[in-house]
C-alpha cells in the first residue's frame, strides 16, 4: 500500500490522490446519468424541487470548517437528505424520483459553491462528491418505497425506515471522509475512521435528526417546514462555527507565541514549527489519535519555551548540544510555564519528559522494542525527543543526504536515547518527503 503511494508521488506534476479521483468519477457518472434521466422524465413537484434546491444552495453557502480542517455543510446535507426522505408535502404525495433528488442536490451544491468561488475560496469537490454519493444512496433506496401505501399510512414503519437510512448515510459519509484523509494525510484507516466518527458524530446526529424533522413536518406544514426548520439548525451551526473558530485561534496563538523563542534568539528561526510538523507526521505514522495528536502538536510547539527563563540564549539554540542537566532544567521550566495554564496538564507532562532517554540505563531492560516501561517517558515525549534531535542536526536544510545521515546517527543511539519505533517512523516520513522533493 505504502509502496504504491510512493510511486504516485514521483510524478512532477500535481497528482490528485487516487481515492479522491475515484470518488469524483463515481459521483460524476451518477450525476450525469441522473440528470439525463430527469431531463427525459421531466420534473415532478416543481415547487418543492425549487424550495429544496434553494435550501441546499443556502446550506452550501454557509458551510463551515470543523476542527482538523474538515469541511462540512450541515444545513445543505440535512436539506438534501430530507428531500430524499420526503413522503408527503401537505396533502400531496411526493412523487419525485431518485434521479431528481440527485439532480436537485447537484444543482443546489453548484449554485451554493458559486459565492465561494467568487471570493476566491476554492470549492472542495471531493467533500461535495462524498456528500452527494450519500444522498444518492439514500434516494435510490427510499424513493421507490416512498409511494408505497404501507409506508404512507404507517408512520412507525416510515420512521424506522427513515432513521436507519439516515444512519446509513451518515456512516457512509464518515467512511468516505476517512478514506480521503488516509490518502491525504497518510493516516491509518482505522485511526482515521475513529477520529472521523468522534468529530462528525455530534453534528451528524443533528443533521440526521433535522432531516427526519423536515421530512415529517412537511406532511403537516408543507414547504413552510423548510423555513421554520432552518432557524434552529442555523443556531446549532453558529455554535459550531464559534467552537471551531476558537479551536483554530488557539492553535494559531500557540504557534505565534511559540515563536517568541526564535525572536528572542534562543532557537533557530522556524525550529518550533518544523519540530511540531515533524512530530505530528511521526505521530500519525505511529497511529496516534487526533486529540492526542493535538496535544503532541502543542507540546512540540512549546517544547523550548523553558529557555525563556534562561539568562542568556544557548549558542545556536540547539538543545541537543547542551548538557543533560541544562536540558532537563529547560524542560522543567517549560513544563512549569505550561502548567500555569492549568488546562494543558498532559502537555506539560510531555514537555517535562521530552529529554528523558528512551531506556534508562539503570532500570532493567523492558524486553520488546518500544516497550513502554511503567516509568518510561510517554510516547509523545519520545516523539518530540526524536524530532527535536533530527531538526537540531539538519535544520532547515533540504538536502536528502544530510537528512539520511541524521536519521542514521539517531538510529545508532536507539539502544538508550531514542525510541527505535519513533526513529523508524521518522525515517519513513523523511524518505517520503525527499521523494516528494524530487
Amino acid at each position: 500500500m505504502t509502496e504504491r503511494r510512493h510511486e504516485l508521488r514521483r510524478y512532477p506534476w500535481p497528482v490528485r490522490d487516487s481515492g479522491q479521483l475515484l470518488l469524483m468519477m463515481a459521483a460524476l457518472v451518477w450525476v450525469v446519468a441522473s440528470v439525463a434521466q430527469t431531463a427525459a422524465a421531466g420534473l415532478q413537484g416543481v415547487s418543492s424541487a425549487i424550495a429544496f434546491g434553494l435550501l441546499i444552495a443556502f446550506g452550501e453557502v454557509l458551510r463551515l470548517n470543523l476542527p482538523g480542517d474538515r469541511e462540512s455543510a450541515p444545513i445543505g446535507f440535512a436539506g438534501a437528505l430530507a428531500y430524499a426522505l420526503l413522503i408527503q408535502v401537505g396533502a400531496n404525495l411526493a412523487q419525485h424520483s431518485a434521479a431528481q433528488v440527485v439532480t436537485v442536490t447537484t444543482i443546489g451544491m453548484i449554485v451554493g459553491a458559486l459565492p465561494h468561488l467568487a471570493v476566491g475560496r476554492p470549492a472542495r469537490v471531493s467533500g461535495m462528491a462524498s456528500r452527494l454519493l450519500c444522498v444518492a444512496c439514500v434516494a435510490y433506496i427510499f424513493r421507490p418505497l416512498a409511494g408505497d401505501a404501507a409506508v404512507v399510512r404507517d408512520w412507525g414503519l416510515a420512521f424506522s425506515l427513515m432513521t436507519s437510512l439516515a444512519i446509513v448515510a451518515l456512516l457512509l459519509e464518515v467512511v468516505l471522509t476517512a478514506l480521503l484523509r488516509v490518502d491525504e494525510q497518510r493516516a491509518r484507516f482505522r485511526v482515521a475512521l475513529v477520529d472521523e466518527l468522534r468529530v462528525q458524530l455530534p453534528l451528524g446526529a443533528a443533521v440526521g435528526a433535522s432531516a427526519l424533522l423536515i421530512a415529517f413536518a412537511a406532511e403537516v406544514m408543507g414547504l413552510a417546514a423548510l423555513v421554520v426548520f432552518t432557524a434552529p439548525l442555523l443556531v446549532t451551526q453558529v455554535a459550531f462555527r464559534r467552537y471551531a473558530g476558537i479551536r483554530a485561534t488557539y492553535l494559531q496563538t500557540v504557534r505565534a507565541l511559540a515563536k517568541v523563542t526564535e525572536i528572542g534568539g534562543y532557537v533557530e528561526p522556524g525550529h518550533s514549527e518544523r519540530v511540531s510538523r515533524l512530530a505530528v507526521a511521526i505521530g500519525r505514522e505511529l497511529g496516534i489519535h487526533e486529540p492526542q495528536l493535538l496535544e503532541l502538536e502543542y507540546a512540540a510547539l512549546m517544547h523550548d519555551i523553558g529557555q525563556l527563563s534562561l539568562h542568556d540564549p544557548i549558542t545556536g539554540g540547539a538543545t541537543i548540544f547542551v548538557s543533560p542537566q541544562d536540558a532537563k532544567r529547560i524542560a522543567e521550566l517549560g513544563a512549569e510555564v505550561i502548567q500555569q495554564a492549568q488546562v494543558l496538564g498532559s502537555v506539560a507532562e510531555i514537555v517535562r519528559r521530552q529529554n528523558e532517554p528512551y531506556r534508562d540505563a539503570d532500570a532493567p531492560a523492558q524486553g520488546r522494542l518500544g516497550g513502554e516501561g511503567p516509568a518510561g517517558p510517554p510516547l509523545s515525549s519520545r516523539i518530540i525527543k526524536t524530532a527535536n534531535a533530527f531538526d537540531d542536526l539538519v535544520g532547515s536544510s533540504l538536502e536528502p543526504g544530510r537528512a539520511a545521515a541524521a536519521v542514521q546517527q539517531l538510529r545508532l543511539d536507539t539502544a538508550r536515547e531514542y525510541d527505535p519505533g519513533t526513529v523508524e517512523a521518522l525515517s519513513r516520513v523523511v524518505n517520503r518527503r525527499s521523494v516528494m522533493q524530487l
Partner: protein, 449 residues
C-alpha cells in the same frame, strides 16, 4: 442570595404570586389528553433546563427550554404553557438557591403564559395542527416567540437590576442584552413550532426527535465555553513566561490589560472591541524578547544602536502575533503603543488621530502601570502622583480623552497596585535598569556627534 435587598425580594414574591394566580385560574379545564401533552412537554422542558449551559459572567445560564414552552403555547394554550414553564421547579441543576429557583419558576411560568396570550390575541389556533394551519400560523407564532423572549429578558433584567448592588451583576446585565443570545433564543423558539407540527404526525414522540439537535447545540456551546476558558488561561501563562526574565515587570502585561479594559469600558467601546483590547494589553510587550537583555538592563545612557533596538520592540511584537487571526485591531494597538500624540514617538512617528485608537488607550495604561510599579532605580509612585504625571503629558504624549477616562475609572473603581518585588540574591543581575515605558524618566541617548 441571603443578602438580597428588600426590593428584589418583593419583586420575586410578586412574580411568583402572579404566576400562581394565572395558573390556578385555568388548570381545571384540561382534558386527559391535554394533561398528557403537558406532562410530556414539561418533561422536555425540565430536561432542557437541567442541562442548561452556564454562561461565563454572573449566574446566567442558557438553555433550549424555549422550544418546549412555545410548543405548549400552540398545543395547549396559555395556561398549559404556563404549567410547562413552571416545570423549572423540577430542574435538576444544582447551584441556584431556593429564592433563585422560586423566581425562575415564576418567571418562566409568567413568560410562557404571556406568550400564549399574545398567540391567542393574534387569532392563533390552539390545538393540534393540520395542513390548513400553515402558513397562517407562522405570523402569530413568531410574534408570540418574540413576546416570550422580551418578557423573559424584561423580568430577568428587573431582578438583576434590583439585586445589582448585592451581587455586582453589572456585567451580567450587560451580557443579558447580548444580541447573539436573543437570536439563539428565537431560533430555538422556532423549534417549538416544529414540535407542535410533528405532534400531529408522530404524537408525543415529537420531542424525542427534536431533542437531538437541541442537545447537539448545547454540546457545541459548552465546548466553545470550555475552549475559550482554556484559551485565556494559555495566553495568560505564555505572557507570563515572556515576563519571567525580568523580576520588576512581572504582572505588567496583566495590569496593562486591566487598565486598558477600564478605559475602553469608560469610553463605551462595544463588547467585542473590549475583548480585543484585553488581549492587546496582555500581548503588547512580547516584542521585548527581541531586544537583547543587556540593552534592556543597561544603566546610563544608550547608544544610538541600542536605542534603535528598543524602538524596534513593538514591531517585533507584531511579527510574533501577526498570524493570530482574530486580533485584527489589537495588532495595530500593539504596533503603535509607543507613538505620541505630538508625533515624537516610535516606531513610525504617527501623530494625533493617525495613531490607532487601541494604541492610544494602551499607551496610557502602559505608562501608568510603569509609574506605579517599583523599578530598580526608584520606588513605586502613589496613584495621585502618577495621575498628575499623566495629566502633565496629556496632549503631548497621551490622548487627553483617554487620560480623563482612565482617571475617572480609577477614581471610581480604584487600582490594584502590584506587590513590591522581593528580590532573591541571584536575581539581582536580571532587572531592568531603565524602564522604556516610564514617561517620567525617559530613556537617555548619547548625543551623536
Amino acid at each position: 442570595m441571603g443578602r438580597l435587598p428588600w426590593a428584589a425580594r418583593l419583586y420575586v414574591a410578586v412574580v411568583v404570586a402572579v404566576a400562581a394566580v394565572l395558573l390556578a385560574r385555568g388548570t381545571f379545564t384540561f382534558s386527559a389528553d391535554s394533561w398528557r401533552d403537558i406532562a410530556v412537554l414539561g418533561l422536555l422542558f425540565a430536561i432542557a433546563e437541567s442541562t442548561a449551559t452556564r454562561l461565563s459572567p454572573g449566574n446566567l445560564s442558557w438553555s433550549a427550554n424555549t422550544a418546549a414552552t412555545l410548543a405548549a403555547v400552540v398545543l395547549v394554550g396559555p395556561v398549559g404553557a404556563g404549567l410547562v414553564g413552571a416545570c423549572t421547579a423540577f430542574s435538576l441543576r444544582r447551584g441556584p438557591s431556593l429564592a433563585q429557583r422560586a423566581f425562575n419558576t415564576g418567571m418562566m411560568a409568567v413568560t410562557a403564559y404571556a406568550a400564549g396570550r399574545v398567540f391567542v390575541a393574534l387569532h392563533g389556533h390552539v390545538g393540534a395542527l393540520n395542513v390548513n394551519s400553515f402558513p397562517g400560523i407562522i405570523g402569530p407564532f413568531a410574534v408570540a416567540a418574540l413576546a416570550h423572549v422580551v418578557v423573559n429578558h424584561a423580568l430577568l433584567g428587573g431582578v438583576l437590576w434590583l439585586a445589582r448592588n448585592a451581587e455586582g451583576t453589572a456585567r451580567a446585565t450587560y451580557a443579558m442584552l447580548n444580541v447573539r443570545l436573543l437570536s439563539s433564543d428565537l431560533g430555538y423558539g422556532a423549534f417549538g413550532l416544529l414540535i407542535a407540527a410533528l405532534w400531529t404526525v408522530v404524537g408525543p414522540f415529537a420531542p424525542l426527535l427534536a431533542l437531538i439537535p437541541l442537545f447537539v447545540a448545547r454540546w457545541a456551546v459548552a465546548q466553545f465555553a470550555e475552549q475559550q476558558r482554556a484559551y485565556e488561561a494559555t495566553v495568560g501563562a505564555l505572557c507570563q513566561a515572556v515576563e519571567t526574565k525580568d523580576f520588576y515587570t512581572r504582572g505588567h502585561s496583566d495590569r496593562v490589560s486591566r487598565g486598558s479594559v477600564m478605559i475602553a469600558r469608560e469610553i463605551g467601546m462595544r463588547g467585542a472591541r473590549v475583548e480585543a483590547i484585553r488581549y492587546a494589553g496582555m500581548l503588547h510587550d512580547v516584542g521585548k524578547l527581541g531586544v537583547p537583555t543587556k540593552v534592556l538592563q543597561k544603566t546610563g545612557k544608550l547608544t544610538e544602536e541600542e536605542y534603535a533596538a528598543i524602538q524596534l520592540h513593538p514591531m517585533r511584537g507584531l511579527d510574533i502575533v501577526r498570524e493570530i487571526g482574530f486580533l485584527d485591531e489589537a495588532l495595530a494597538g500593539i504596533m503603535h503603543h509607543h507613538e505620541r500624540i505630538d508625533g515624537r514617538g516610535y516606531p513610525m512617528g504617527l501623530a494625533g488621530d493617525e495613531i490607532p485608537e487601541f494604541a492610544r488607550v494602551l499607551a496610557v495604561a502602559d505608562a501608568f502601570d510603569s509609574m506605579t510599579s517599583t523599578r530598580s532605580y526608584r520606588g513605586a509612585r502613589p496613584t495621585d502622583e502618577a495621575i498628575a504625571e499623566l495629566r502633565k503629558w496629556s496632549g503631548t504624549q497621551f490622548d487627553p480623552a483617554f487620560v480623563d477616562a482612565f482617571v475617572a475609572a480609577i477614581k471610581r473603581d480604584g487600582w490594584q497596585h502590584p506587590q513590591p518585588p522581593v528580590l532573591a540574591a541571584e536575581e539581582l543581575a536580571t532587572v531592568t535598569a531603565q524602564d522604556h515605558d516610564d514617561p517620567s524618566a525617559p530613556l537617555r541617548v548619547i548625543d551623536s556627534l
